[in-house]
C-alpha cells in the first residue's frame, strides 16, 4: 500500500499532495493503520480467521473431541448426497423469496408515513421499529403462541368467522409460510427507516414539476419516487437476501418442540441444518462443508444482484 510519495508529487496539485502524504508512507501512514487497527484486528480475528479455518476444516474429518484428518472432498460429497441438504436449500430459497416482500411493504408504508400533514409519524415509526429491536427469540416465542393450534389467538379469531385454522407451525403445509411471515413482520421497521430517508431525499421540485405536467399521485409514485428510490431498494434487497439466507433463530424457536414436530423438515433452513449437524449429530466435518457452501451461495446471489443493478438502479 505504501506508494512512494515522491513519484506522484509532480503531477498532483498542491492540496491533493498534502492529503496523499497523510494517507501513505512514513509516520502519518502508520497512524492511519493504528486508527483502523481496532476494527481491523477484530475483523481479522473474529471473521477472516474463522472463515479461512472453516474452509480448511471442511476438508477434514473431525473427531467429536477434536483431532482432524484430511479427507479431501468427502464432506462435500456427503452434503450433496444428503436429501435434507437439498430440501433445506429449497426451503432457504423460499424464505428468501418470502423475505423480499418486506421491500414493497416497507415502501408503501414509508410513502404513507411521508404524507405531508400526517400527525404522530414518530409514534408510527416507533411502532414499526419495535419488532426489529425485539430479540428474534422473544418474538418467535410470542408468535409460536399466537399460531398454537388449540389455544392460539389466530385460530380463536378465525373461529369467529367459522374458519377452523390449523396447527400453523406444526403442519408441514403451512410451517414455512408461517415462519416467513414473522420474518417479514420483524424486518419491516428497519427497511421502513431507510425508505423514509430515501423518500425525504427526493427533491421536492421533481414532484412539483410532475404535478404541473398533470401526473396524478400514482403516476408520480411510479415514475418519480420509485426510480429515485432505486439505490435504496438495491441496498435493501442485497442486505435482505443476505439476512434471510442465514435465517436461523426464528425457525429454531418456532419449530422446536419437546416431542417431534412433523413440520420440522419442511421448515428447516440451511443454517438450522448446520446447527443440527454440528451440535446435535457432532458431525462437524459435514457441517463446515455446509457452512462454506452457504457462503458461496450468498456470494453468488450478491454478485448476481450487483450485475443486475446496472439494468434498473438509477443514480441521480
Amino acid at each position: 500500500m505504501a506508494v512512494p510519495t515522491t513519484a506522484s508529487t509532480p503531477a498532483t496539485p498542491a492540496p491533493a499532495r498534502r492529503r496523499r502524504s497523510i494517507r501513505s508512507g512514513g509516520r502519518a501512514g502508520l497512524i492511519g493503520y493504528l486508527f483502523i487497527a481496532p476494527v481491523g484486528i477484530g475483523l481479522l480475528v473474529l471473521y477472516i480467521y474463522p472463515a479461512v479455518a472453516t474452509f480448511a476444516l471442511s476438508f477434514t474429518d473431525w473427531g467429536p473431541f477434536g483431532g482432524n484428518t484430511f479427507n479431501g472432498f468427502a464432506n462435500y460429497v456427503a452434503v450433496f448426497r444428503n436429501d435434507l441438504f437439498w430440501r433445506s436449500l429449497g426451503n432457504t430459497l423460499l424464505y428468501m423469496s418470502i423475505g423480499l416482500f418486506v421491500i414493497p411493504i416497507a415502501i408503501v408504508i414509508a410513502t404513507l408515513l411521508n404524507k405531508p400533514g400526517l400527525r404522530g409519524v414518530g409514534v408510527y415509526r416507533t411502532l414499526y421499529f419495535i419488532p426489529f429491536v425485539t430479540l428474534p427469540v422473544a418474538s418467535g416465542m410470542v408468535w409460536k403462541w399466537l399460531y398454537n393450534g388449540d389455544y392460539g389467538l389466530i385460530n380463536a379469531f378465525l373461529g369467529n368467522f367459522g374458519i377452523s385454522g390449523t396447527y400453523w407451525v406444526a403442519n408441514p403445509a403451512t410451517a414455512l409460510m408461517a415462519i416467513g411471515i414473522v420474518q417479514v413482520w420483524s424486518q419491516i421497521g428497519y427497511y421502513l427507516v431507510i425508505f423514509i430517508a430515501g423518500i425525504k431525499a427526493i427533491p421536492q421540485t421533481y414532484l412539483e414539476a410532475a404535478e404541473l405536467d398533470g401526473a396524478g399521485p400514482l403516476r408520480r409514485f411510479f415514475t418519480v419516487v420509485l426510480p429515485l428510490l432505486s439505490p435504496s431498494i438495491f441496498f435493501c434487497s442485497v442486505i435482505n437476501v443476505i439476512a434471510t439466507l442465514q435465517i436461523f433463530d426464528l425457525i429454531y424457536v418456532m419449530s422446536q418442540s419437546s416431542s417431534a414436530n412433523p413440520a420440522f423438515n419442511s421448515a428447516q433452513s440451511i443454517v438450522t441444518l448446520f446447527y443440527q449437524m454440528a451440535f446435535v449429530e457432532n458431525n462437524k466435518g459435514n457441517a463446515t462443508a455446509l457452512a462454506f457452501l452457504l457462503m458461496l451461495l450468498i456470494a453468488a446471489l450478491t454478485a448476481v444482484q450487483f450485475r443486475l443493478q446496472k439494468k434498473w438502479v438509477f443514480y441521480d
Binding site: 473427531g63 467429536p64 388449540d150 408441514p172 418442540s257 417431534a260 414436530n261 412433523p262 420440522f264
Partner: protein, 420 residues
C-alpha cells in the same frame, strides 16, 4: 488446578522417599485436600446434591466438591468443548445416548479395576442400567437414578365416562375401547396422547410388541414387530382417537393431560412433580402400570456419574463416584422427591413424597424393562426418527407408518455402518 496438583505431588515425593515405600494410607494422604467439581444439569436436584456432598465430606473431609450447573440445552455442547479444550468437571452426569461416544474416545476414566479392588459389585442397581454404562467390557459409570414409563390417568374423566380405572389387566385393546368413550370433539377431548415421543411412547410400544430398535449395526425399524408397535399409536391417530403429532408438537401430551383434555398419557417419574404441584390436577390424577401389548414391556433409562479421564484428582473423583452409589445417597435422593434413585430399596422416600399417587407402579415394572437403546451416534438416528416418522403421525392414513419406518431403517443403517 494442574499446577496445584503438580506442587502437591512434588511436595509429597520427598516424604514418600523418606518413608521408603508408599503404603495405601500414604496414597490417601497424597490425594488429600483435593478439590473436585461435579457437573450436572438439573436445578431441581441441586439441594439433594448439596446434602450428598455434605455427607461425603463427613467421610472425606479432605475432598472439596463444588457443583457446576449447566442447563441441559447447552450441557452436551459445553461438555464436549470443555473436554476437548480442558476445564471440564472432574465428575459429571452422563446419559445413555452419549455414553458410547464419550467412552470410545477415551474421555472417561475406566473404573472396573478400582471397583474390583474395593469389592464393589453394583448388584444393588438395575442390571441393564449398569450394563448401559459399560463399554467393551469396561465400566465407565455408576447409575444414580432411573426412570421407566407408567400410565397417568385423569380420574375425573374416567368417572364421567364410566370407565373403570386402569390396572394391570389392561391391554392395548382395552385402551382402544376406552378411547372411544373419552372422545368429545367439541371439547377437543381425547383418550390418550400418542405423541411422537420416543422414550414415553415409541419404545414401550415397540418392546411390548416384541420389536427392537438397534442391534449392533442394524436398525430394528424394518422389523414387522417394531412396526406393529408403532402402529398402536398411528392407528389411534388415524381413527381420530388420539391427537395427531401436529397437535402434540404445539402443546405436549403432558400439557394436554394437565389441562384436562386427555384421559391418559404415558409419563416419566419426573412428570409427577408438575402434576402434584397443582392441587386441582393432583386430586384428579393417579398412576398405573402400562397396559400390555403382546407382552409386558417398558424402557429403563437412568443417569450415571462418570469421571473425566483428564481429572487431576482421579482418586478423589473415584471416591466421590463410589460414594454416590451407596444406599445413603440413594436415600437422600429419594427423600428429595425429585427422582427415583437407582439403589434398590431406597425408592420409598420418593414414593412417600407423593402418597396420593401410586408411584409404586414405576418400581413394579422394573422386571418388564429393556434398557434404553443406544449406539455410538445415538443422537444422529434419534433425530432421524422424528424427521422420518413425522409424516406418518399427522393423521393422514395415506401415509403409512410401515413405509416411514422402512425409510428410517435404511437411513439409520447408513449411520450405524459408519460408526467407528
Amino acid at each position: 488446578m494442574r499446577r496445584r496438583a503438580f506442587l502437591r505431588a512434588a511436595a509429597a515425593a520427598p516424604a514418600a522417599a523418606v518413608l521408603g515405600c508408599s503404603s495405601s494410607s500414604d496414597d490417601d494422604r497424597q490425594h488429600g485436600h483435593a478439590s473436585i467439581s461435579y457437573g450436572m444439569w438439573d436445578q431441581l436436584q441441586v439441594p439433594a446434591m448439596h446434602e450428598v456432598i455434605a455427607a461425603f465430606r463427613k467421610e472425606h473431609p479432605d475432598i472439596d466438591v463444588t457443583i457446576q450447573l449447566t442447563p441441559f440445552s447447552t450441557y452436551w455442547t459445553r461438555l464436549q468443548t470443555s473436554i476437548t479444550g480442558g476445564g471440564a468437571a472432574d465428575v459429571f452426569w452422563m446419559n445413555g445416548p452419549n455414553i458410547r461416544r464419550f467412552s470410545h474416545y477415551g474421555t472417561l476414566l475406566p473404573i472396573s479395576d478400582r471397583l474390583a479392588a474395593d469389592g464393589v459389585d453394583l448388584a444393588d442397581h438395575p442390571d441393564n442400567l449398569v450394563d448401559l454404562y459399560a463399554y467393551q467390557g469396561e465400566q465407565f459409570g455408576i447409575p444414580k437414578d432411573y426412570d421407566c414409563i407408567s400410565l397417568y390417568y385423569n380420574t375425573e374423566l374416567f368417572d364421567e365416562a364410566g370407565v373403570p380405572y386402569p390396572d394391570d389387566t389392561w391391554t392395548w385393546e382395552t385402551v382402544r375401547e376406552a378411547c372411544r368413550e373419552f372422545r368429545v370433539p367439541s371439547r377437543g377431548q381425547f383418550g390418550i396422547s400418542s405423541a411422537l415421543d420416543r422414550q414415553r411412547n415409541l419404545y414401550p410400544a415397540i418392546f411390548q410388541n416384541d420389536g427392537w430398535v438397534v442391534d449392533g449395526r442394524e436398525s430394528g425399524f424394518a422389523d414387522e414387530r417394531t412396526i406393529g408397535g408403532l402402529e398402536f399409536w398411528t392407528d389411534l391417530i388415524n381413527a381420530d382417537l388420539a391427537p395427531n403429532a401436529m397437535a402434540t408438537a404445539d402443546t405436549t401430551g403432558r400439557s394436554l393431560f394437565l389441562g384436562g383434555k386427555l384421559a391418559m398419557y404415558y409419563g416419566l417419574p419426573n412428570d409427577a412433580v408438575e402434576a402434584y404441584d397443582d392441587e386441582a390436577v393432583r386430586e384428579r390424577t393417579d398412576i398405573a402400570v402400562l397396559p400390555q401389548g403382546s407382552s409386558r414391556g417398558n424402557v429403563i433409562h437412568g443417569l450415571a456419574n462418570v469421571i473425566n479421564a483428564r481429572t487431576p484428582f482421579p482418586d478423589a473423583a473415584y471416591e466421590f463416584v463410589k460414594f454416590m452409589a451407596t444406599r445413603e445417597v440413594g436415600e437422600i435422593q429419594g427423600a428429595s422427591g425429585t427422582i427415583l434413585p437407582s439403589f434398590a430399596g431406597t425408592e420409598s422416600g420418593y414414593v412417600d413424597s407423593k402418597p396420593e399417587f401410586n408411584l409404586r407402579a414405576f418400581i413394579d415394572q422394573i422386571p418388564d424393562c429393556i434398557a434404553y437403546p443406544i449406539s455410538m451416534d445415538t443422537n444422529t438416528w434419534e433425530n432421524q426418527q422424528y424427521t422420518l416418522l413425522g409424516d406418518a403421525w399427522i393423521g393422514d392414513p395415506g401415509r403409512s407408518v410401515a413405509d416411514a419406518s422402512h425409510a428410517l431403517a435404511s437411513a439409520m443403517n447408513l449411520v450405524l455402518e459408519q460408526e467407528p
